[in-house]
């Protein structure tokens, strides 16, 4: 579960449920789109704007016709709903993603080296 290299994107992810979607990398997921079509495939990337990339996709168009797509990219704006797979523990996934983000952020070590927040703030 890679963490974005962008400071802004990490902040957005950390403060929204996009962080849950990012924890679903590798899972087969169904995404309902705004225009009533749907895509079921393996999630390979979700960015902070909810743009999603899926592989090995069964795409059902508005008329109900199913076609296979090797790879699909859908813009966040067009995502209406993401079906979280049953096997996913939502809380554990979110916590794991938060830990990954914090590992990146505090890579000097929390209490040695630079201080990001003066502890004095809490007095």
């Amino acid at each position: 579960m890679e963490v974005s290299h962008s400071v802004k994107e990490r902040t957005i992810a950390e403060n929204s449920l996009v962080i849950l979607l990012q924890g679903l990398h590798g899972h087969v997921t169904t995404v309902d789109l705004r225009d009533e079509s749907a895509a079921t495939g393996r999630l390979t990337n979700v960015d902070a704007f909810m743009n999603m990339r899926l592989a090995d996709v069964a795409f059902t168009d508005r008329q109900g016709t199913v076609t296979q797509l090797d790879e699909l990219f859908v813009t966040g704006r067009n995502v209406r709903y993401v079906h979280i797979p049953d096997e996913v523990d939502i809380r554990a996934t979110i916590e794991r993603q938060l830990q990954a983000i914090h590992r990146v952020r505090y890579f000097g070590g929390r209490d040695k080296g630079r201080k990001e927040f003066p502890r004095a703030k809490h007095k």
Binding site: V3, V7, L72, F73, T75, R103, V104, K112, E116, P118
Partner: protein, 242 residues
């Protein structure tokens, strides 16, 4: 067939072209527009027929794109692009309208859709075309995003900005990447700098000879202090009034 009036003559994009694919057929709603070159540029997606006319699509209007290799759905492997817009070419379809179709079209009032297919003669290029489009799409986040809380002001959102301002790292790597990029010298420098920052600031102020009651209080309260890397004897030359 009707005139494809949305086709215009324009020069190929010169800047920010992430991928260019010659000998690519463009198909709109099942109708071929001819052979040409697809330009996947950061500002927009453009296709120019070999004769020099073509069209451009703005990324915010593109809802999705995909690589299709399912020959039972369409006889050639291609890049599929779905656009939230109507193109005049579609009018020819509406001429003889059966009732069922008419109902469907009226539902489409709020959701115009145009389906493009870009069929390169070189099938192996589809991966690169797809990836280039993903990269360019990511450069155009949705400006009308009502759902997300775009108010990212507030102290907690400045954490990383402050962290970067404090640190001496010129470009930001993720943890693992960053360590990989450090030479032995870089590692030693990192340790030295972290050690310096870890020293109490009051001792740094002593070295600079500007310690006052106010400056101590300022440091304890907030993050306003600019911690400059202090070298012993840095201010020896300065004229300081004690």
């Amino acid at each position: 067939g009707g005139a494809m009036s949305f086709l215009k003559r324009f020069p190929p994009p010169a800047e920010g072209v992430r991928h260019q694919q010659p000998d690519t057929e463009a198909v709109l709603a099942g109708r071929s527009l001819g052979a040409g070159t697809l330009y996947i540029a950061e500002s927009r997606l453009s296709w120019l027929e070999n004769s020099g006319v073509g069209f451009s699509l703005d990324y915010p209007t593109i809802s999705l794109h995909a690589v299709s290799r399912d020959l039972s759905a369409y006889p050639w492997e291609h890049l599929y692009v779905m656009v939230n817009a109507k193109f005049e070419e579609e009018e020819t379809k509406e001429a003889p309208v059966a009732e069922g179709e008419e109902d469907e079209d009226s539902d489409d009032d709020t959701e115009p859709i145009a389906e493009f297919r870009f069929v390169p003669s070189d099938k192996s290029a589809l991966e690169a075309m797809f990836s280039a489009m993903c990269e360019c799409q990511a450069l155009h986040p949705d400006p009308d995003d009502e759902d997300s809380d775009n108010d990212y002001e507030g102290e907690e959102y400045d954490v990383e900005a402050r962290e970067l301002a404090q640190g001496d790292i010129p470009s930001f790597y993720t943890y693992e990447e960053g360590l990989l990029h450090l030479t032995a010298e870089g590692q030693a420098t990192l340790e030295r700098l972290e050690g310096m920052l870890a020293q109490s600031v009051s001792s740094q102020y002593n070295m600079a000879g500007v310690r006052t009651e106010d400056s101590i209080r300022e440091f304890e309260d907030g993050m306003e202090v600019d911690i400059a890397p202090v070298v012993a004897g840095q201010f020896e030359d300065a004229e300081v009034d004690h």
